[in-house]
């Protein structure tokens, strides 16, 4: 049985403010309970295969210049730096 407290804990780890989203916890709980159906699928012995891509199949690890300066599109770009919110711990 999953408790709402566990869901709240995970929400914080996912950086979702649960005080703000308390109303969702019950719905999340209902969906996760629905997932219990997976217990009766009888797939314990099933192997999982993952698609493999060989290194040679990946695109070359080289710098591809972008055709314009994206940094200039940032709202707080000041010409020589970008302003970000001040943080305290």
């Amino acid at each position: 049985m999953i408790t709402e407290k566990e869901i709240e804990h995970v929400s914080r780890l996912m950086r979702i403010d649960v005080d703000d989203h308390k109303e969702y916890v019950a719905k999340v709980h209902a969906v996760i309970e629905y997932f219990d159906i997976l217990d009766s699928a009888g797939v314990e012995s099933e192997e999982i295969s993952m698609p493999e891509v060989s290194i040679s199949g990946l695109r070359k690890d080289v710098h591809v210049p972008f055709d314009e300066k994206l940094i200039e599109k940032l709202n707080h770009y000041k010409g020589t730096y970008v302003r970000a919110p001040k943080m305290s711990s």
Binding site: I2, E6, I7, V10, S11, L13, M14, R15, I16, D17, D20, H21, Y24, V25, K27, V28, A30, V31, I32, Y34, F35, I37, L38, D39, S40, A41, V43, E44, E46, E47, I48, S49, P51, V53, G57, L58, R59, F66, E68, L70, K73, N75, H76, R83, A84, P85, K86, M87, S88, S89
Partner: protein, 481 residues
């Protein structure tokens, strides 16, 4: 001018000199202006569409080479990037996001001289089945505006169904192209995984999602596939389609083809009207010489739980980037305590996205991964084996696209578990990477019903042939708008 023509009729009309791209696009934009306040198919409009169409006409007149779309007005789901235009994903989080580059599909359509009329409404970040989870209000079904148009690519299906464009691109993670196509009486095509590049599609669940066309006819869908499919160095999951022409031989008959009727998708929980339409479709297919037989895909029962577990997990990871530093909405640069800053930055996600992020953290977490995420992957693996076995004996699988008729706006929004069941017939194609198509087939009391056909991987061409054959057997009423 008749805006109700198909994409191929449009192209032929412009080639013959019967249609001017500028006139057609101008009238399309007028139609959007006059009816879209009610339908809400669009989130933004391309103000330069008519000017761009005029350029195409000039090119044609001066004898220059013109791309195969000849200025065709196309709408694009708002999670596909068009350079220098807004891509909001119907989220407050990306309200002011301007894409700095074109998605590969956009680049290809642009090279073929398509005109992008606007970006279409959707469920926020493509998470939903009705378009009601758009942060900008739901789209309405053109067949009856009290009803949902389906989702998540609801705006795309509405724009095609209400003649606000000739064709559209949506994205399909669990049925998001096929479901709204079915609800709005359009053709919705989900290709084999890898056939169309996802570069420039805002990521939600990368391992199973695909861009797909929503069109008026099966031939139009084949034409769109010709325009946008093929290998792309920016998406290493793409497959080389080796220049396949999906339109060529599309009228090939399906005599002798073997079709499996999926028992689990035509039984309990299916609306009687939908079931009756499905039976009718099967007899039509048999009338064309196909051999139909009931088959079982035992894992169907678990497919939605597996689908939701896998997609929520990928969403939890993909949406971590919306932290208001790299992406996000803007707020004042005052001092913040770190955790409260991040929580505040992510407060602008809507309810369904918030739920899926929480679930996406929960199901793969250390204490629960074995029970949920790992089991979901095992279901996916077993489901793939079951379907692969069937495709050794059958050419296609048939089912209704959606087990229920379109329902009223607001009817199911508060019950996430009952909403999940809507995807039961469509998620299998995503989980197994197979191509699938929804063909408009019937109309019950003014509400459309679509039939789904699925084929083995890379059998897209023969799937379109079967869809075309089925499409030819029906004559449907015109949308009352």
């Amino acid at each position: 001018m008749n805006l109700k023509i198909s994409a191929l009729e449009y192209v032929q009309g412009v080639k013959n000199g019967d249609i001017s791209a500028e006139d057609f696009v101008a009238q399309t934009m007028d139609r959007i202006k006059s009816i879209d306040n009610n339908l809400c198919a669009f989130l933004s409009i391309n103000a330069d569409a008519v000017i761009q169409a005029r350029e195409i006409d000039k090119k044609i007149k001066s004898g220059k080479k013109v791309g195969d779309c000849f200025g065709m007005p196309v709408s694009i789901k708002d999670n596909i990037c068009i350079k220098d235009s807004k891509t909001t994903c119907a989220s407050k989080m990306l309200e002011n996001y301007i894409s700095p580059y074109d998605a590969t599909v956009i680049k290809r359509l642009r090279q073929q001289d398509a005109i992008f009329v606007g970006k279409t409404n959707m469920d926020e970040f493509a998470m939903g089945f009705t378009t009601e989870f758009s942060a900008y209000g739901p789209s309405k079904n053109p067949w009856n505006q009290d009803y949902v148009p389906g989702g998540s690519s609801g705006g795309s299906a509405v724009s095609v169904g209400a003649f606000e464009c000739v064709a559209s691109l949506g994205s399909d993670t669990g049925g998001s192209v096929r479901n709204p196509a079915s609800f709005c009486s359009a053709v919705g095509y989900k290709p084999t995984y890898g056939l169309i590049s996802r570069y420039g599609l805002v990521s939600y669940a990368n391992s199973i999602e695909q861009i797909g066309p929503i069109c008026r006819t099966v031939k139009d869908a084949a034409f769109m596939l010709n325009m946008i499919s093929g290998v792309d160095s920016n998406d290493n999951t793409t497959i080389d389609s080796r220049g396949t022409d999906y339109l060529q031989d599309i009228e090939c008959d399906i005599e002798g083809k073997k079709i499996g009727i999926v028992k689990e998708m035509t039984g309990e929980g299916t609306d009687p009207a939908v079931l009756s339409a499905t039976k009718d479709a099967i007899s039509k297919l048999e009338g064309l010489g196909a051999i139909c037989e009931e088959v079982s895909v035992g894992m169907t029962k678990y497919s939605v739980a597996a689908y939701y577990t896998i997609t929520a997990t990928e969403a939890g990871s993909n949406l971590a980037r919306y932290d208001n530093l790299r992406y996000g909405y803007d707020f004042p640069l005052e001092g913040y305590e770190y955790n409260s800053y991040i929580a505040k930055a992510r407060r602008n996600f809507g309810p369904e996205v918030t739920r899926r992020i929480i679930i996406g953290g929960f199901v793969p977490s250390a204490g629960h991964a074995g029970r949920y995420f790992l089991k979901a992957l095992k279901v996916k693996s077993k489901l793939t084996k079951e379907v692969n076995e069937l495709f050794k004996r059958f050419d296609f699988l048939v089912s209704p696209t959606v087990p229920v008729l379109p329902f009223k706006l607001g009817e199911k929004i508060d019950d996430p578990v009952s909403l999940l069941a809507i995807d039961i017939n469509t998620v299998t194609a995503n989980l197994t990477a197979k191509p699938a198509v929804s063909v408009p087939f019937s109309n019950h009391n003014g509400l459309p019903i679509g039939i789904q056909l699925m084929a083995d991987s890379l059998q897209d061409k023969s799937l379109l042939q079967a869809a075309y054959a089925l499409e030819q057997t029906v004559s449907l009423p015109e949308v009352p708008i």
